[in-house]
Assembly symmetry: C2
Homo-oligomer: 232 residues x 2
């Protein structure tokens, strides 16, 4: 019947990404204030690692570029560890060159301290301000560099999810954006589940139920596969 | 002979801290900027957890107040988990009330963002500054509250270690300070070894060789025991 046909078509047992070069980024970055203190975010890397694991199981040739997380490397995945937004930029731009698909699941710092103190800062009794500067925009750069690659981004928002996600999809020249409300029940950082909406450039949207990050990863890869079929 | 006598005296097999109420703090704190971003530091909690484990083995009644770390709770230790400097302050002041010894090994944030955004901050093309305010000084407060407790602090510095550690010992009214240069070979954050100098109020100093954090923990507890014997 049609259901089992669909199931087979979308099943992760198929070797349906065989030979595809997929670059996936995961985790947070750390931006030093001084030798002791740093600025970071709550990303655990679980979504990106789930994507890498499932893509490799489906036959893709996966490069996983990971910020500082405490997760084991999935089988048959080439892992590159980075720490700062600038490290991440260099590694992604280099790896993206030969990729068919780039999925940017990392939560890269938008800002970093403008000066990094080489010695530990001494405290005083006063308040102080930390001057922050913008980091390079990796996703925007990838969107500009893109020739026939499929580019997938994420939007993690605490409000106005649809509006912000659509804006990001266009501004960054993405093919697909995976939007999630970090305040939704069962979603967000360091959880094993997620609640996501997948939004395509042509306006099609898929609202996924609360499911494991591995199930969500397979649904994202299904959409990537569909985009790739139409693409070629 | 004298060496084996000393060895027995300082050995961790003795139940020499039996019945002592010891409060130990460990790990970093996290100070939120918004629902996604935060400030923190490189403390892994290993030194504080080693102290808690060894103190419990030596018969002490240990309360371990831990910031966000991924370490298992040592046997026979009562653990209280906290996240922010303010949580840490509340928990320590409450626990210190009945303690014989307080060892503050945690790397508590000195500063936190003056405002915490309730929604994720949107980036703009401009630089920005994060206004920071001082957190409450836990060690200074403990030094002021102290009646006949033994108070032990840590100084992790990247330069002028002796000068900064002595100043801290006096300013915070400590009995012992464990000073370490985070730039020394084999020392510092997330390592399993340390190189420390233990400085007492009366000017006595013990320079420890490069050794495991568990060995260093036992040496600190030896000094605490000696201070306690003179104390009573």
């Amino acid at each position: 019947d049609i259901l089992s046909t669909l199931e087979t078509y979308f099943s992760s047992d198929r070797n349906d990404l065989d030979g595809k070069q997929i670059v996936i980024t995961a985790g947070p970055t750390r931006e030093a204030v001084d030798p002791v203190r740093y600025f970071t975010n709550y990303s655990s890397g679980k979504m990106g690692f789930a994507l890498a694991e499932q893509a490799a199981k489906r036959g893709a040739d996966v490069t996983l570029i990971a910020g500082p997380v405490s997760l084991p490397t999935p089988e048959n995945v080439k892992r590159i560890d980075v720490v700062t937004a600038d490290d991440m930029f260099q590694a992604v731009i280099k790896a993206a060159d030969l990729a068919d698909v780039v999925i940017k699941a990392a939560a890269v710092a938008d800002y970093r301290p403008a000066q990094v103190a080489t010695e530990k800062m001494k405290k005083s009794d006063d308040a102080m301000a930390i001057e922050m500067e913008r980091t390079k925009d990796i996703l925007w750069t990838l969107g500009q560099m893109k020739t026939n690659q499929i580019l997938v981004g994420f939007a993690a928002e605490s409000e106005r999810l649809d509006e912000y996600a659509k804006k990001k999809l266009e501004k960054k020249n993405l093919d697909l954006i995976c939007a999630n409300n970090i305040k939704a029940e069962g979603a967000g950082f360091n959880k094993d589940t997620n609640v996501m909406t997948l939004m395509r450039r042509d306006g099609e949207r898929v609202e996924l139920p609360l499911q494991s990050k591995h199930e969500a990863a397979n649904r994202i890869l299904d959409e990537v596969k569909r985009l790739d079929v139409n693409h070629t």
